[in-house]
């Protein structure tokens, strides 16, 4: 074999994952991997198993069969705290009971690095401050989380995840319900972080255009099976999308960025 094609160890990989809830099988033999510095988008219709896959990758849900490896070591070989120092997750819903300030929430990302009662040290504070700064949150540091808008809250939780100093970030719909400005801002920052820190980013996305514009690779799921995985232009084809979403879809080119652009092609007036 060609020695130059020898794969370097993936940051996170899953092999033959079968998983589900209460006897209902959601994922069928799903395999994937993401490299350090890479941004992988998981797309697919509702109920295709995107969030379940993220749970399995995060280690909060045990697969029935198959295995997940973090930098070549089985996920089971890490305890929860060790895992939290390497993998950070941001879920779709971010509810907080009780009134915490933005800074308090972001500092929670240091918890896996600190002992039970130890206060955050200088370095912890600097890391949190840099994460706040990265997401333009410094002016909001003292505000209470419940006073913030949806976009601001999402940034707070991304900053908290960043404060964990993870090797892998798992994001469930990081830009759902956000306006375009926030979508662009968040993806730009995530891309920067992936390349500057060699962080692997895995994000589930409904927005196919965002996946096409920002992800290095796209994984297309349908009914818990992988339909395709690779460069956006190779996976997000009219043929694939038509079969997965069961509707007419047009794939063109964004004249400004040169990336592919996806539009629904079903015209109700024509019927």
């Amino acid at each position: 074999m060609n020695p130059s094609s020898t794969p370097t160890t993936a940051a996170l990989s899953a092999h033959g994952i079968i998983a589900g809830y209460a006897g209902v099988n959601v994922l069928h033999e799903v395999s994937m991997e993401v490299a350090a510095g890479e941004m992988l988008a998981i797309v697919g219709p509702n109920g295709s198993g995107k969030s379940t896959l993220l749970r399995v990758l995060a280690g909060t849900m045990r697969p029935w069969r198959g295995r997940v490896e973090l930098e070549g070591a089985p996920l089971d070989s890490f305890d929860r705290r060790a895992l939290a120092r390497r993998i950070a997750s941001v879920s779709q819903e971010n509810t907080v009971a009780f009134c915490f300030t933005v800074m308090e929430i972001v500092l929670m990302g240091r918890a896996p690095h600190l002992g039970a009662f130890r206060f955050e040290g200088r370095r912890d504070l600097e890391i949190a401050e840099a994460a706040l700064d990265r997401f333009d949150l410094l002016p909001l540091a003292r505000r209470h989380i419940e006073e913030l808008s949806g976009g601001e809250r999402k940034r707070v939780f991304l900053a908290r995840a960043l404060t964990q100093e993870p090797r892998v970030m798992l994001l469930d719909e990081p830009t759902a319900f956000l306006d375009l400005k926030h979508v662009v801002g968040i993806f730009t920052r995530l891309r920067e972080l992936a390349s500057s820190r060699g962080m692997a980013v895995v994000a589930t996305l409904h927005d196919l255009n965002a996946a096409a514009a920002y992800a290095d690779r796209v994984m297309l799921l349908k009914d818990g099976r992988v339909v395709g995985c690779g460069a956006p232009a190779e996976v997000l084809t009219e043929r694939n999308l038509r079969s997965v979403y069961e509707t007419e879809i047009y794939v063109g080119t964004n004249p400004i960025t040169g990336k592919i652009a996806i539009l629904p092609a079903h015209d109700p007036a024509l019927r």
């Binding site: 308090e104 918890a111 419940e146």
Partner: protein, 350 residues
């Protein structure tokens, strides 16, 4: 330039999170308030005494009243209040709901029933009541806690309204059971039914004070050690797990520690409700929600609250006495309604 913006950032972060200095100053201030309220509460009662004479003149009646009656009672008020408030704060963290509290959720009721049943049996067969009664009360409180938690869980989610309804049902049920046991069994030295249902700090012995304080401190140590994990729990079970918390283990620890504390408290003071609701809520409003401060602040704040409530119970209609649980409920009822209305906009803080 860089230096300047750095300084501005530091300003933005000032007071945005808990520092050791802030924690120390808050706890110190609360301690001062506790000492002052203890001094006031020591002077007043059915008989007004002089603290100075009580300490300096061992032959005075002031000395006798102070050391035999008033001091143990003050200590008991302090310990009971401290435990009720920290248990409240911990249960609220557990169920992610500021309206949770041992009395409201019916856990204290379960513990009290356990204590009564233990007393009845011991009066028949004989045995050391000071250790066995709190032990049985602990078991009953633990069963109640787990039952309330499991019943309020719908599809893995704790529904706030279901939780409160389950509490209402448990309270009614345990209350009725206590009535029945008390009516059927005519035990000679038993506390009155009012003691169990309304709570009272009348005539504690030093031995009781010591036992409850020891159990309380042990429970508090376990809770305080997991204060940071409780902060993470506010983000939800899954998010807490993703931040390194062993959620099931933490939940079991909180179940056990709070049940030990509730068991100890109810076996000496009956059901005293609302302290665990009012005190943590006020402290959160004043000092924020970080449990590293909230738990020790509740310990001291609960003691202050109870010492004052007990003072009112003793002097309001002196020489007669109001059960201290009636005082806390008179304050707590309207307070609960206020919190319910306030939290009404969002689903009860969830």
């Amino acid at each position: 330039m860089n230096e300047m913006s750095n300084q501005a950032d530091r300003g933005a972060l000032l007071g945005a999170y808990l520092t050791p200095a802030r924690m120390a100053s808050v706890l110190l201030a609360l301690l001062v308030i506790l000492v002052i309220s203890m001094l006031i509460a020591a002077e007043f009662g059915t008989a007004r005494i002089s603290l100075v004479r009580a300490v300096t003149d061992p032959k005075s009646s002031d000395h006798a009243i102070f050391f035999a009656a008033r001091l143990p009672r003050l200590m008991m008020a302090m310990v009971v209040g401290a435990m009720l408030a920290t248990v409240g704060a911990a249960l609220q963290a557990l169920v992610r709901n500021p309206l949770a509290e041992g009395g409201i959720l019916g856990i204290s009721g379960g513990g009290a029933l356990g204590a009564i049943v233990a007393l009845v049996f011991l009066s028949r067969i004989g045995g050391s009541e000071t250790t066995i009664v709190p032990l049985v009360a602990f078991g009953a409180a633990l069963l109640s806690t787990v039952a309330v938690y499991r019943l309020a869980e719908v599809d893995g989610q704790l529904e706030p309204f279901t939780l409160l309804l389950v509490g209402v049902i448990f309270n009614a049920f345990w209350g009725a059971a206590i009535m029945v046991v008390n009516s059927v069994v005519n035990f000679y030295y038993a506390h009155s039914i009012l003691f169990w249902l309304m709570g009272s700090l009348e005539a504690p012995t030093w031995q009781e004070v010591e036992l409850v304080a020891a159990l309380g401190l042990a429970g508090f140590a376990v809770l305080a050690w997991h204060a940071r994990d409780m902060n993470l729990l506010s983000l939800g079970d899954e998010a807490a797990a993703e931040l390194g918390v062993e959620v099931d283990r933490l939940r079991r620890l909180i179940f056990i520690a709070t049940s030990v504390m509730i068991g100890a408290v109810v076996s000496v003071s009956g059901i005293i409700a609302f302290v665990g609701l009012i005190v943590p809520h006020m402290l959160r409003l004043a000092f924020g929600s970080d449990h590293r401060l909230l738990l020790p602040a509740s310990l001291i704040g609960g003691a202050v609250f109870m010492v004052i409530a007990d003072l009112i119970a003793r002097v309001a209609i002196s020489p007669a006495e109001i059960p201290v649980g009636a005082i806390t409920a008179l304050f707590g009822g309207p307070f609960f309604v206020y919190m319910l209305r306030r939290e009404g906009g969002r689903p009860l803080g969830l």
